[in-house]
């Protein structure tokens, strides 16, 4: 569908340009952009690259707030470029910069490798004694809706790095894992199918771990998916304290729910239609 112009309005877009191989320091470059109804920041960047400067570099993939690739600093606030409409954030001037607290690869592309290294360090996966069942499942691990609620919102994290960019502790202490990895440490520790808390608490409770969080809450404020990492960190603190005081309830990881082998279809229930693909 063709874009409909709002009012033939143009805005100034300031993009922070930086090529570490050539530039001594980042600089701002101004572009003029005609804003159309529904135009997202990502659309605007594509328009600038197609019509004004093909050398502007930015990262994107899904264009629908699922992959988290296009997170950047939009008018000084971490957000997804694909999920932010220009009309909502700028009337005359739009500034775009790479996420802070990361090195810059080029222009608007931050180096997210430290984020993923820290994420990997908290062992963000289900750990169980019966890993054979995980690798070659014979059934499903039973989990009640109540157990699911304990971690569900933290599972919506798309690892875009917005929370890491908004974290004041991470800005001061590069050793601090940051909100995303620590929230994921809690997400898996709270999962009733998991028994890996004892491994994760070493990382989460380290000298640069979860206790360095000042509870500024900016991570939750900027999350484009509505996740509340600050809450996860406080819950992780509680788990660590209860574990230290030996008050943390030990639980066996969820058992396997096997499919009944002798089940017969109720004759009153019609059979499903045949597969079409």
């Amino acid at each position: 569908m063709p874009e409909t112009s709002l009012s033939n309005r143009t805005i100034d877009v300031y993009i922070r340009r930086y090529n570490p191989e050539r530039d001594a320091r980042p600089r701002w470059q101004r572009f003029t952009l005609a804003v159309a109804r529904g135009m997202t920041v990502l659309d605007g960047l594509h328009r600038i690259r197609e019509e004004q400067d093909p050398t502007v570099v930015f990262r994107y993939s899904c264009r629908m707030s699922v992959c988290g690739s296009c997170a950047m600093l939009i008018n000084g606030r971490p957000a997804l470029a694909c999920n932010t409409q220009i009309a909502d954030v700028a009337s005359e001037r739009l500034t775009l910069a790479p996420l802070p607290n990361f090195d810059i690869i080029k222009d608007l592309v931050p180096d997210l490798a430290p984020l993923f290294q820290k994420h990997r360090a908290v062992q963000p996966y289900i750990q169980r004694a019966d890993m054979e069942e995980v690798e070659k499942p014979t059934g499903e691990f039973y989990q009640s809706p109540k157990e699911l609620e304990r971690y569900l919102q933290f599972a919506y994290c798309i690892k875009c790095g917005s929370c890491m960019a908004g974290c004041p502790t991470l800005a001061a202490d590069p050793e601090y894992p940051g909100p995303m990895p620590l929230a994921q440490a809690y997400r898996y520790s709270a999962d009733s199918r998991d028994s890996g808390f004892d491994e994760r608490k070493v990382q989460a409770g380290a000298s640069h771990g979860v206790f360095r969080c000042h509870y500024a809450g900016e991570c939750s404020n900027v999350c484009p998916k509505g996740v509340d990492p600050a809450r996860a960190l406080q819950l992780m603190k509680r788990e660590l304290v209860l574990d230290y005081l030996r008050l943390r309830r030990k639980r066996c990881p969820a058992s396997v729910l096997r499919v009944p082998g002798e089940a017969r279809r109720n004759p009153d229930v019609p059979a499903p239609p045949p597969y079409t693909v």
Partner: protein, 122 residues
Amino acid sequence: MRETKYWIWHLAAGVLILFLLGLHMAIMHLDSLFGAWGLNPSGGEAIAWNNVVARSRMAAMIVVYIALLGAALYHGFYGLRTIVFELGIGPALQKAVTVGLWTAGLCLFVLGAIAAIAAGRL
């Protein structure tokens, strides 16, 4: 686990400070109320010399002063350690800072505790 332990004690010290500092402030500023409890035996201002000496001789107040000193020192030095750690120092320097702060804190605590006990003999 050490960080968890330090943090728990930090919280406990905070709660203790809240209570003991509240008590201290009440004694200092609500002297008309607490004077009746024998905390201002000479009457008048809570900071009058005779009242200060009288309180310093009470075993319960000596315990309160020493507990408040310990809690405040621990709480404050933990906060200072946190600030220093956020400068991104390495593990060896972290250990040195921790040992240094423990040493300084214990020295100040011993000094303050001796002063509080000595004041009981005034």
